[in-house]
Symmetry: C2
């Protein structure tokens, strides 16, 4: 059957395609299936995921903005270098961002005690957080440690949504991707003892105790940082171990 003369194809719109490719690619990079320096060509990815190059392009550009790939015009994209040197600084900044988020979430909860009605988005975020906490507890009980990294990210992003600050949530999203990348570079998770701290943080937020939420979250991130530093022990001498004035300030405050 001949086709109509000016219709060489039939574009099938699938608005979720770029998101799928983006998530899959980012997971592959963070988990190490794609090593730093590896070339990622649009055509290959398009064939892999069964879509055209256009959605693949979108995903690659998003990953470039997130810092996971590097692109040069007409020269293609490669997986970026893992920011190992930035580890301590990233933890320090993350500590401040997360503590600020926790504080703000608690202030928002406190406002609910003084008569202000919780918004719909707040309830949605709070319910999602409860589900995440339950899932994490189940995973800990079943020793399904492989599920914890993903749940951990979702917990922290959930708190960010609870805080209502889109700007801080965006910053956290950007930085936590990098940190998960650091972790997955050698080990896949930092054990389950830190999961228990999550309920304490949520309790402080629910109670509207801003100082306590700030302090607990800072300590939570700080112990995470210490666990990382003990494991990888800064083989290079770029001042690590002495740079900690800001870092420990943020992590050990309170």
């Amino acid at each position: 059957m001949e086709r109509s003369p000016v219709r060489p194809s039939r574009p099938e719109t699938d608005a979720a395609a770029p998101q799928r490719v983006l998530d899959a690619l980012r997971r592959d990079i963070i988990l190490g299936a794609l090593r730093p320096g590896a070339r990622v060509t649009e055509a290959a990815l398009a064939a892999t995921y069964g879509v055209s190059r256009i959605p693949v392009r979108e995903a690659l550009r998003a990953l470039e903005a997130e810092g996971f790939v590097e692109s040069k015009p007409y020269a293609g994209s490669t997986v970026a270098k893992i920011p190992l040197d930035d580890a301590e600084d990233l933890f320090a900044v993350r500590g401040v961002i997360e503590a600020t988020i926790a504080r703000r979430a608690a202030l928002r909860a406190a406002a609910h005690f003084t008569g202000e009605a919780p918004s719909t988005e707040w309830w949605t975020a709070r319910r999602a957080l409860a589900a995440i906490l339950d899932d994490g507890d189940r995973a800990v009980a079943a020793d399904a440690l492989a599920d914890l990294p993903d749940l951990n990210i979702r917990f922290h992003l959930g708190v960010a949504e609870l805080s209502g600050s889109a700007s801080l949530a965006a910053l956290l999203r950007q930085i936590s991707g990098k940190i998960e990348w650091l972790y997955a570079a050698d080990v896949d998770n930092r054990g389950k003892q830190s999961w228990g701290e999550h309920r304490l943080i949520i309790a402080a937020i629910d109670a509207g105790n801003a100082d306590e939420a700030d302090r607990l979250m800072a300590g939570h991130v700080g112990s995470s940082q210490r666990g990382y530093m003990e494991r990888f022990a800064a083989p290079d001498g770029t001042g690590t171990g002495a740079v900690g004035a800001t870092g420990t300030d943020a992590a050990a405050r309170g």
Copy 2:
């Protein structure tokens, strides 16, 4: 009227087109030419800039990642709401990021005293910074205050490059865009007295004095924050003025 059968056009590749559209759009949003809530359609922008919808798409997606526009599938893009409520938190986080950057830049300079040779990129960044400082001084002398906001951004991003931390530089880039947006929402610059502090910061960095660089940069951002807060004085009561434990901690440290 039939057209030539298989050649309806001739794509002219211009790899810089998305960047041009991105920069122009972001400037229009930050400077207020495009108000929050305004609809931005791909076709209109394509006509405006004389390119196809594809580069416009790329620019819009990048702006979405940066938080300046919001998009819904098949529904179009609108300019996002100015994050006024996040102002204090954004300043707090920016203070920590910038102080960390200054500290790291100073540590890098200190390494040069102990025998490590400066890299080519370091020299390039240092030279660019010197030029920016001179340009700013000239602008201050000529009372060309309109040039200061742009020079200010370039100064801070230049220090980020000097620090050598691509991750922190990316975070700063994201957050400083938001802060400039806040400023430009009502006033265009915060005067010229703060420009003089820049040379002091660079002097501390060049001397390799990490604590001093950290302290000066934190104070610099802190006074910027205080200037903003005095001007806009939180008309809404979202806890502003009491949220400052983290904020003032980062801003007034030292």
